[in-house]
Amino acid sequence: MRLLIAFALVLGLAGLAYLAGRARGNRMVTAAGGRIGVVHSRPVYHGAYVAVLALAPALIVLAGWGIVGEGLIEGQVLGSLSAAERPAPGNDSEALMNEVRGLVNGDLPQAFNPLAPRLAPVYAAARSNGDMLAGAMAVALLAMGGLWGWSRLRPDFRARNRVETQVRALLLIASIVAILTTFGIVLSLIFESIRFFQLVSPVEFLTGLAWSPQTAIRADQVGSTGAFGAVPLFWGTIFIGAIIAMAVAIPLGLMSAIYLTQYADPRLRKWLKPILELLAGVPTVVYGFFAALTIAPLVRSFAVSLGMTDASSDSALAAGLVMGVMIIPFVSSMADDALAAVPRAMRDGSLAMGATPSETVKKVMVPAALPGIMGGVLLAVSRAIGETMIVVMAAGLAANLTANPFSSVTTVTTQIVALLTGDQEFDSAKTLSAFALGLVLFVMTLILNIYALAVVKRYREAYE
């Protein structure tokens, strides 16, 4: 809130700087008698130039204070305590500081920690001092930058070129955010995974057959061995995402695409396509709820009617079926693209030879489009294995190595959620293992995507 006000203030002052610069530009134009070409840039660019010079340093100061400020205040507040009273760094200090903040902000009527009421005035003073200092610095820099920029304005000053260079820099910075995000993902996954692999060997993680991440709290506890063999998870992920879901999505998606592109009336297609798109737009949490509440009991009673008395109520089949339906629109649109890329001459030639449309599709179109379709299927697989909510809600937590679709299996994403929600100590192998699983998932989807996109690209080029 305080920062928001500060930002609004700085923006307002920068607006004034803009007006001042523009006014000076206007005066120069008037002085030149309004003749075009005497003043290099139009007044708005003079204004913008002054505003940018005023705004940039002030924003950097404010953003810096927003990032490091709280830490500095905390150090000062905790430093005001004598060494004996000072709580242990980590959770205790954190809890104390939260209470102090609550008291100062008025969110908390009373504190539990007896130290908190004493620290509250210290905190309030430190914060207002810091705020004043940062605010004064920002305003001073703003005034200096603005004045310097304002003083540089001349009729022959190339304000527009300067402003355009700045805008280009802004565009480049926005683009670089994508690289930073990728780096952030890779670094945070690798960093936490390395900490995990210091506790558990990578070989055990990648080849072990037992998964039971609950570490024992007491030494004599039964059943909490802390085994981190992730193979059952990989199997469960592939079983649900790449086998069951694809068994649903490939035939249905492919046949839908064939019907829509080859047979359907344009008017019918206008109605059918949005239905498929709607299927793609349903939030995954809704699919998960539907899978857990409606499909899973149906699957279970079906299994029981087949004579399987031990059928699980969170079967792999229920999650896989619903995930397959979710993927249908994706497979369908990829197949649609692939079929559309087959040269028309091939189709017409086949039809002209007397083949029926279905023979043309089966013997000419699909074989010709096969690489494209396969690429689409691989992309669909990479989506399915990264899908989280359906499996969190409908698949189980028991890590079983089984090919029985009516029993319960668990997946990588389910385990990541299970490991990272609820109570967590951040440095335990249990929590860190989620990042190692995330790294495996990231690498798996990345390889699938790069490979699939290469296949699709090569296929498109073949017919161009």
Binding site: M1, I67, L171, P283, V286, T356, M389, T413, L441
Partner: protein, 436 residues
């Protein structure tokens, strides 16, 4: 030495196919049959997909529409100043409202519930709030008798809505005989009515199904999306402009393009891991806050916006750029005065689709703690909040029977908003997009 090639041997005479023979006829019939079957197979695939969607929507609406209703019972309340523990003289004073707000309505309700006879245990835990509301609205009621409609417990509510199978044996139907007899008694006396459940639309989460609402989660979603849009829209559009209009061919542009394409395919839960490891544990930002959720979702949907914006910018014909450049505009002026305004409908369509994705997303928010149980409407960008899809997830996990209809009703609201957003995107695309 050239020799004249001998005339080619005459082509072997081939009898024209006699299509009238039974063999050929049956062969054609078989081919046509295969054709029809294949066509039916295609139609069947679409019918299966559509009927799955219809089934999904049907079960959600069937279970959910009662979530917008609540059952209320009529009680006569004697607003007795002594029971309330307030002084009638002071209520008339300047502190009157504050006094009334703090009065002991629980005791008042307990007394009033006696008139329900055998069914005195059927009122909701929050029924006293209705008494407070009534009295604070009209302080003149103090000392008088009034007839009020107050909400009942979830089990009675569900009985009134017919959600239990009363023919089933007592142990498997999920409701006790006492509750059934209470409900029959109230119903028989004509003391029950069904009203619109405003608590559901505007209230926050609660442990009691009859008091739980999606208002808090909806506001949390709104705050989160504000952050998401404020970050993802400028970043996405600027990146697209740079890549399409200014990027020099080279390694940097290639790396950026590769990053964006990869980010578009990264599973959403990975962004949650990034948010947890970087924003929460490294940068020390607050858990469960719309700010962090919004930033995480912004990074997730930015590639969607970039890709859509690039397509839109690319579809603006080069002649527009050439014309503007030709009369002396600078490249930046060309982009911001001509290209972007013309590409805007496409950019908006992509942005709305991206935002709809962010609104329906749950997995990354789970990891940054937005599953907090929040009984209060969120106060700001840094206070704990939850979002609509997360509320669906949390309620679907709840064992209480009353939450099933709440979950479905919340899904109905979520789906309505999403369908509205997607329709808007389609409308914008059809209305404003120009074909050059």
């Amino acid at each position: 030495m050239a020799t004249i090639a001998a005339p080619a041997a005459p082509i072997a005479e081939r009898q024209p196919t006699d299509w009238a023979t039974p063999a050929m006829r049956s062969r054609i019939a078989a081919r046509y049959r295969a054709e029809r079957n294949f066509r039916r197979l295609g139609a069947a695939a679409l019918v299966i997909a559509a009927s799955f969607l219809a089934f999904l929507l049907f079960t959600i609406v069937r279970d959910g529409w009662t979530g917008f209703q609540r059952t209320e019972t009529r009680i006569d309340v004697q607003f007795d100043a002594a029971t309330l523990g307030v002084d009638p003289a002071a209520v008339a004073g300047p502190q009157g409202q504050a006094l009334l707000a703090r009065a002991d309505y629980q005791a008042l309700l307990l007394k009033a519930a006696e008139q329900l006879g055998p069914a005195d245990d059927t009122l909701s835990d929050a029924a006293w709030m209705e008494l407070r509301e009534a009295l604070m609205e009209d302080p003149a009621l103090l000392g008088k008798r009034a007839s009020l409609w107050v909400p009942v417990r979830s089990s009675i509510d569900l009985l009134a809505k017919g959600k239990y199978d009363l023919a089933a044996p007592a142990e498997s139907r999920g409701v006790t005989d006492r509750e059934v007899s209470d409900w029959r008694w109230l119903d028989g006396k004509g003391r029950l009515r069904t009203g619109f459940n405003t608590t559901f639309l505007f209230g926050a989460d609660s442990t009691e199904p009859e008091l739980a609402g999606i208002g808090g989660a909806a506001l949390g979603s709104l705050l989160t999306l504000i952050v998401t849009i404020a970050i993802a829209f400028p970043l996405g559009v600027f990146s697209a402009v740079w890549l399409e209009e200014f990027a020099p061919k080279g390694r940097l542009a290639d790396i950026i393009e590769l990053s964006i394409n990869n980010l578009a395919a990264v599973p959403s839960i990975i962004f949650g891991l990034l948010g947890l490891a970087f924003f929460l544990n490294f940068a020390g930002m607050p858990r469960s806050a719309p700010l962090v959720g919004g930033i995480t979702l912004a990074l997730m949907i930015m590639p969607v916006i970039v890709i859509a914006s690039r397509v839109a910018i690319k579809s603006v014909p080069p002649s527009i750029r050439d014309a503007a450049l030709g009369i002396g505009a600078s490249p930046i002026q060309v982009v911001f005065h001509h290209v972007l305004p013309l590409a805007l409908p496409g950019i908006m369509t992509g942005t709305i689709i991206g935002i709809a994705r962010a609104l329906g997303e749950t997995a990354p928010l789970l990891l940054i703690g937005m599953r907090a149980f929040v009984t209060d409407v969120p106060q700001g960008f840094t206070s704990p909040a939850t979002v609509l899809p997360m509320q669906v997830f949390l309620w679907s996990d709840d064992v209480q029977r009353g939450f099933v209809e709440k979950t479905s009703a919340a899904i109905m609201v979520l789906m309505l908003v999403l369908i509205a957003m997607n329709s808007l995107a389609i409308y914008l695309r059809n209305r404003f997009e120009r074909r050059w």
